[in-house]
Symmetry: C2
């Protein structure tokens, strides 16, 4: 049913392996070659979708008809694809954990055709969701005690991306999302107030605020910048003062000099006795603008963060690779200029002095990052709801962010934690490289 969620070359290679009886186990390692210059760490995300994809991986009849016809596969090839399921093992870094360049986020071990066919899916889910979770984590670090709300749905790359961004930002510590479908799917808090159009649809701003307060007295948060922000605040105060004591009152600032406007708004609200009314800010925000506003002392209680988080505007992708590291018991590597890989299935350990990258069987100081999550195509551990998965990942993320050294967590010119290959990994790499003198092809 998701058999066409592949790049064509995966089908060609899988068919070739199957025809040739190449059914030995292959291990592919998924890692980020280099962090974007503006990132001191990444937050792992996307694993839940990977596992879901693997458990459902099949070619249905329509799909087989299409690939058979279009790519000239014979009846035997189609039959081999028809019965193909993912029966392999997966080890992965749990969602929400902090990772660095070179560390496997996920390793797939399966008969080579299976492991090859899921390349695009594994790369896609992990690359995209890790990019977004990492950007959202930087917003979380910038925002201190303030609340963060995901406003990204309108400019993410489709609605599937909007749901994934809501989930990734929840893992990173956002408190709510405006995107209703994602709130429902992942059990997130949903938040939202009114748009400028609502204010404009009434003959004046105060009438709009009154109408809204009447309809939704529990969420009386008024968007005040349609015409003039501080005049809008005055109108909001008039309306808010007529509401019952239990109402959640507030205003949203969406344009202009947000620091100055927030200060002016706070003074007006306090003078009116609305000390409990909250100020929300939005409009093109990212971690840098959030930090600048808070550094300037802007009394902002919540930030609505949209597009720049939802597309990870300064790093909308990551330099990920899904590389064969072992086939049929034989460690392999590629030597391509600038893209050489390290052979062998791996583990990474987080120690006090930084991370160590080892071969799978090795031990090193610290705690291992990869854990078994699937065996023989079956999920390990108790079944978790989508809601539980997010909650667990969020807990891990908060702990890992708290443990990050200051130079890695800072927003500008961050320095990632070093990842050092173990002696055994270095020795194996050197030995295999020696078989390809000066990268010569004919081994």
């Amino acid at each position: 049913m998701n058999g066409l969620c592949v790049d064509l070359y995966e089908i060609r290679m899988a068919v070739s392996y199957l025809r040739r009886g190449m059914r030995g186990p292959a291990t592919f390692s998924l890692f980020v070659r280099e962090l974007p210059p503006c990132r001191g760490f990444l937050v792992a995300a996307g694993l839940a979708d990977c596992l879901d994809f693997l458990t459902r991986f099949t070619f249905d009849e329509d799909e087989l008809d299409y690939v058979g016809r279009t790519f000239g596969l014979d009846r035997r090839d189609r039959q081999a694809l028809a019965v193909l399921r993912f029966t392999g093992d997966v080890r992965a870094v749990p969602e929400g954990r902090v990772v660095f360049a070179g560390e496997p986020l996920l390793e797939v071990t399966a008969p080579i055709a299976q492991a090859q066919l899921v390349e695009t899916a594994m790369l896609n889910f992990v690359t995209f969701q890790t990019a977004i979770a990492s950007k959202a984590a930087r917003c979380r670090l910038a925002a201190g005690e303030a609340d963060l709300v995901d406003f990204a749905a309108r400019r993410t790359h489709g609605f599937e991306a909007a749901a994934a961004a809501a989930r990734a930002s929840a893992i990173a510590g956002f408190g709510a999302t405006s995107y209703v479908a994602a709130a429902r799917a992942y059990g997130l808090r949903c938040a939202g107030t009114m748009a400028h159009s609502y204010v404009e649809a009434f003959s004046d701003e105060r009438m709009a605020f009154s109408a809204f307060a009447e309809d939704f007295p529990d969420v009386a948060v008024f968007l005040v910048d349609t015409y003039d922000s501080l005049a809008g605040v005055d109108a909001a105060i008039d309306v808010a003062l007529r509401l019952g004591a239990g109402a959640r009152r507030g205003v949203r600032l969406d344009s202009g000099d947000l620091a100055a406007l927030a200060a002016g708004t706070r003074r007006r609200l306090d003078a009116a006795g609305l000390g409990d009314a909250r100020i929300m800010a939005s409009g093109g925000l990212d971690e840098h603008r959030i930090a600048a506003l808070l550094t300037a002392g802007a009394p902002i209680d919540a930030f609505g963060v949209g597009t720049k988080m939802g597309v990870s505007a300064d790093a909308p992708s990551l330099d990920t690779a899904y590389k064969l590291v072992e086939y049929d018991g034989r460690p392999v590597l590629k030597l391509s200029a600038g893209k050489a890989t390290l052979p062998g299935a791996k583990q990474a350990f987080r120690g006090a002095e930084g991370d160590v990258l080892t071969l799978r069987g090795e031990r090193a100081a610290g705690t291992p990052l990869l854990v078994p999550v699937m065996r023989d195509g079956r999920l390990l551990g108790p079944l978790r709801t989508p809601e539980q998965l997010v909650r667990d990942a969020r807990t891990r993320c908060a702990a890992d962010l708290a443990a990050l050294p200051e130079h890695s967590r800072r927003l500008v010119d961050p320095v990632p934690v070093p990842v050092t290959p173990s002696a055994a990994l270095t020795e194996l790499t050197d030995r295999l490289r020696a078989r390809h003198p000066s990268g010569g092809a004919r081994s």
Copy 2:
């Protein structure tokens, strides 16, 4: 069924309008406020998904249960949402046309609750797909006569985004995609060869090439850079020479100094009598690298362009807005600092001296960009297949790109075509602004 593909505030506002009997027609205009600095033009895309969304827009029972429970809607609200369908009109710039800042890409006119509820969807589809089509068009302009293949699926923002990117790049003039599901959905040519893992899974490179050529003699394109690119070319030549005359032969270069390697590869292929063998290049390419390679005289026949196109890496989003411009016969505007809007339903005309932005009823020199595409919730014109929609958009795009002035189409420091508001639009804007002296809120 797609009723939750909204930001929460749209539900709140819609419910408020419905409760109050505010059923007058509203016109919302979707436009890009400013082009990213690295763009001289945009290519409109996303309309097909918008229209599909509008024809299917409904809240099903599960969705109503969720919103009712979660947002405290009463039975009457839920009943009003249950029967809500999109019954409005849409005018839009056809997909594939070139557009500039300030020009409506789409205008929705419908009872205000309906027009409000589809805000997130209209913004999302148009913003994302226009961003990708525009980036892909720059690659198309850079590549001259060379073929372009979409390789983006592995690092787009989800698979839905991968399909949309394949489609958007086809509109912009790409010749094929590696993403199988998109090729099937939109009738695109699908292309792909082998990965480094395939080469590594065999005990040497030549054996891998032989096996692949045996299995797929019609697409004998060999990836040569796993160990050493030019040695890989020699191995590819040995294998290619043993193939029948009808085979499509070629090599793919994926790393290193692509210009020098392509020249060395061409010399080797020609010396071996393989003058018809094609050279494909890939690996982190974008329009700038393509242009640099071709300027350097690199004999590359086809470029595989992936991530940087598929996420529009230098402009992963656009500064779009979906703004109320008219309600119940009354033109409206907002005055928010830096985000003021122009009132009234509009049209744009493309003339010899640039584009003119007018009020809807006006005439100006040149051809109008917006055309009616939906009336009373029904699609206008003959039903088109997904394949036909792409083909038509591709034709429009090629024509509009050919007509672009050089300073707008150039890759570096492009200058967009100016869009001038008509006298009547300027007069209306000034008149409405005058009602809000110094942006004062209390009109």
